[in-house]
């Protein structure tokens, strides 16, 4: 039964990912991105990482995907929809992806011999203790990053009075 769940979830994730990448219309690809992120949240859930599942849904799907949609809407113009969305280095990119896959192939199939053993425990409490105990410093650092990003975004998107 868990195999079925895994395969269905991975199908959703991969197909929507392909859609994000290949669709000409940016709007559509933005939407599909949201779907793909939700699929990933499902995978987290299948892996028993319940806090991750919830935070993924909350931040990625709710926040980032929606933000992307906004930006696409703001910058999008009808004339561009028909333009080719793929630039001329796709062949090189394809080759690189193939090469990388070949390189990692051995690791993926060798390392993955571990089999699911114990059932998943709730992780949120342990995460909380960990973040404020051992990982207090990285936690603070991340908060700093977030503030910096926030301020940066505000500065960039402020309307400029000076010459264009």
């Amino acid at each position: 039964m868990s195999a079925l769940v895994f395969y269905s979830l991975s199908a959703v994730v991969l197909i929507s990912a392909l859609g994000v990448v290949l669709l000409k219309n940016t709007l559509h690809s933005a939407l599909l991105l949201g779907l793909c992120l939700a699929g990933v949240a499902g995978v987290f859930a299948s892996l028993g990482a319940d806090f991750l599942f919830s935070s993924q849904l909350l931040i990625y799907v709710g926040g980032i995907a929606v933000l992307l949609l906004f930006v696409v809407m703001l910058s999008g113009r009808s004339s561009e929809l028909k333009l080719r969305q793929v630039n001329d280095q796709w062949l090189a990119a394809l080759l690189i992806c193939a090469v990388t896959f070949l390189g990692m192939r051995r690791y993926i199939f060798e390392a993955g011999t571990a089999v699911l053993t114990a059932s998943p425990q709730p992780t949120t409490a342990a995460l909380g203790k960990l973040l404020l105990g051992e990982y207090a410093v990285p936690f603070e650092a991340v908060s700093l990053i977030l503030i910096a990003a926030l301020v940066g975004a505000v500065v960039f998107s402020k309307a400029r009075e000076r010459k264009p």
Partner: protein, 101 residues
Amino acid sequence: MTLAHYLALSAALFLIGLFGALTRRNIIGILMGIELMFNAANINLAAFNRFLHPEGIVGSAVALFVIAVAAAEIVVGLALVLAIYRSQNTVYAEDISLLKG
């Protein structure tokens, strides 16, 4: 399901993201590709946590951090996109080459 499956899934997702980042002409497309690569990394982390150290939660913690940083990164990226859009009236990567060598 074995770890290999999850690793295969995250590898596939990572490559699709990479391909997207390299080929999309629209900067937002590139950003989306990068988001996919972040998520692939998270899948890996969660899978390792689940398969190799079921008792521990460090994998999820790091995933969390990744998510936070990714969010900050995408916010700044989009702000930039808007700024470029407003000043250059374009969002296509080829047109933006002021920082030429």
